[in-house]
């Protein structure tokens, strides 16, 4: 089954509109490889094997060969050839964009995603060579967890939705390299604030780059320049600056522009105040009201299970909150609720600032407070048994 699932993802997907650049339109070979989408390939392969059912195959090499032969017969190309063709296409894609302009440096390097894409394409080629030498390293679990996974080194982004006050810093990692602020905001507390007398700088996400992660061989990235005026820091290394720009600016902005506030990520803070963070006029962004609000309310099971607790405390009233009488509500969902805003305004400027501006973490809310704020209560079905 693993070979079938993997092979289903291996169809090169047709490009129906040529890639475009706003600088100038370029020609790139347009491919039409027919219906090679994962769903089509999956149903094609499963249908093929359902026609002649047989007992499960113990030998993974035999299983891979059977699936590969089925791919050749159904889709015209074997798995290796299909990835190879896609690799070549991706390489010409990178080359096309590399020619668009000279490689940027300094702050501008953060706005150039091509060094990072080029790095990923090279890393991909190395993974492909491993796959070609032994497909079982990807098509069996054991091959994957024993030999492939231990060699993978993705980048990590540490999100702390509560907000970490700078410049105290954080110590999530003890590894060399540096935690570099990705989403940081300078917040202005209310004038009457007793707890926050001065404007504060807050980091919601940091990234710890390591030498060699993502397959790069870059050394000497230790010089980090923090440019607090711009609200972002940048790395004096074009490759890492490209990554930092993608993580902190281009990818979150891509999600926001494509999906509005309905885009869900591990931290909601990244969607907040984009025009201001970029120094742009708010009025340039015309927000469709349907995508401005995002209701995200769920059962608390995963939250309680992670902490290994059967009960916790309601973030509003402090009452005991259990799997059966409480719900997990996103920070944006709370902030967009006028009853919640009114409630915290009445409790004082510091409460309002702390809970509705500074802290973007999820809320655990008891049923009584859900009803008080008229928040919709998700139903527990038989498919959602109460947590173990």
């Amino acid at each position: 089954m693993m070979a079938i699932l993997f092979a289903s993802l291996c169809g090169s997907i047709p490009v129906t509109v040529p890639p475009s650049s706003t600088l100038r339109r370029r020609q790139l070979r347009s491919r039409d490889v027919g219906e090679k989408l994962p769903s089509v390939r999956y149903h094609g392969l499963v249908g093929h094997f359902k026609e002649s059912p047989r007992s499960s195959i113990e030998d993974p090499d035999e299983a891979f060969e059977l699936v590969n032969a089925a791919c050749q017969s159904l889709f015209g190309l074997g798995i290796v050839e299909e990835i190879e063709e896609d690799l070549q296409f991706s390489q010409s894609f990178v080359e096309m964009y590399r020619q668009v302009g000279p490689e940027a440096t300094g702050v501008a390097a953060q706005l150039d995603p091509i060094p990072m894409l080029s790095e990923l394409t090279e890393y991909r080629r190395r993974l492909f060579n491993t796959f070609k030498s032994d497909p079982q390293l990807f098509c069996t679990s054991q091959g994957f967890y024993e030999q492939t996974a231990p060699n993978l080194r993705p980048s990590f982004i540490y999100h702390n939705s509560h907000g970490i006050h700078l410049p105290d810093g954080v110590s999530y990692s003890r590894l060399p390299g540096q935690l570099i602020a990705l989403f940081d905001r300078r917040l202005r507390p209310p004038k009457k604030s007793l707890r926050f007398p001065e404007p504060i700088s807050v980091a919601y996400a940091t990234w710890c780059p390591l030498v060699g992660d993502n397959g790069s061989r870059i050394e000497g990235f230790s010089t980090v320049i923090e440019d607090r005026e711009r609200g972002i820091g940048y790395v004096q290394n074009n490759q890492l600056a490209s990554r930092q720009g993608v993580y902190s600016l281009l990818a979150p902005l891509f999600r926001w522009i494509l999906y509005g506030n309905k885009s869900r990520n591990i931290s909601e803070a990244e969607n907040d105040r984009w025009p201001a963070a970029l120094g742009l006029d708010d009025s340039r962004f015309v927000i469709d009201p349907f995508y401005e609000e995002a209701e995200d309310i769920s059962l608390p099971d995963a939250f309680l299970e992670f902490f290994g607790r059967s009960e916790n405390y309601c973030d509003v009233c402090g009452a005991k909150a259990t799997a059966t009488n409480s719900y997990l509500v996103s920070a944006r969902t709370m902030r967009q609720n006028q009853a919640v805003v009114k409630y915290y305004r009445a409790r004082g400027a510091d409460f309002e600032f702390q809970l509705l501006k500074l802290d973007w973490s999820d809320w655990l809310v008891c049923r009584a407070d859900m009803e008080r704020f008229n928040l919709s209560i998700p139903r527990r079905t038989s498919a959602d048994p109460i947590s173990r």
Binding site: S56, R255, I257, V286
Partner: protein, 229 residues
């Protein structure tokens, strides 16, 4: 939706809910686990957690393994890399849209593609000549493929097992088979009960192991070993 660890399919960065981990009684150990996995690779800290029966670290570590499977599949396979390429094409053009042009930018961009919605949110007729419109047209021709792939039709409850579900199935199998092959103890079966439970069409089953009925049809004589409870 509460998440502790999650891959970003557009950048391949692994995102950690550091705030929640910090609040966990084993938070320091979990952060140390991440460090060890980044230096030595995932297998050795996972096996160490298993050998001491540390369910907190095993739970976090196998979730990390799940995300690593996504990382490899997104990077290597044409469907996965299509998602990355699509995003980077947008990233490359984004600075021109935001910093160079003066165009109005609808959020989401899709709302500017449809003339009725466009009028409703107050974008003028000239929008079709803008950079935002051109970029939106290209992006939506790309994203449409991903969305159509993962379309769910509530009218007839039909689920197309598209790219994203297949990615989840591969990550589930890897995570489950590590548990089954390396950590098959009564305590692990209790702690990871959703993984070891018989298939019954629950939300968990439909999200991660929806392929099991197909598996039975292809191998009717001897069911897959991986689904024995």
């Amino acid at each position: 939706m509460f998440r502790v660890i999650q891959i970003d399919p557009e950048t391949l960065a692994i995102q950690l809910n550091a705030g929640a981990i910090s609040a966990h009684s084993r938070g320091v150990d979990i952060f140390n686990f991440v460090d060890k996995a980044r230096v030595d690779g995932i297998l050795s800290p996972l096996l160490a957690a298993n050998s001491t029966g540390d369910m907190d670290l095993l739970s976090f570590g196998t979730s990390y393994l799940h995300e690593l499977r996504h990382f490899a599949d997104l990077l290597l396979t044409p469907f996965g890399f299509y998602r990355i390429r699509t995003a980077f094409e947008f990233f490359k053009n984004l600075p021109y849209l935001v910093f160079v042009s003066d165009d109005k930018i609808p959020v989401p961009l899709m709302s500017g593609m449809d003339p009725i919605t466009r009028a409703a949110i107050g974008l003028g007729a000239g929008f079709e000549k803008s950079v935002a419109y051109r970029l939106g047209s290209t992006s939506f021709s790309r994203v449409r493929v991903i969305n159509a792939e993962n379309h769910y039709d509530p009218a007839n409850s039909s689920i197309r097992y598209g790219g994203d579900r297949i990615l989840e199935a591969l990550a589930y199998i890897t995570q489950f088979e590590f548990l089954f092959q390396k950590c098959d103890t009564p305590e692990a079966r209790h702690h990871f009960s959703s993984f070891f439970h018989l298939f019954e069409g629950s939300e968990f089953d439909l999200a991660y192991r929806w392929f099991i009925p197909d598996c039975h049809k292809m191998h009717p004589v001897k069911p897959c070993q991986t689904i024995r409870s």
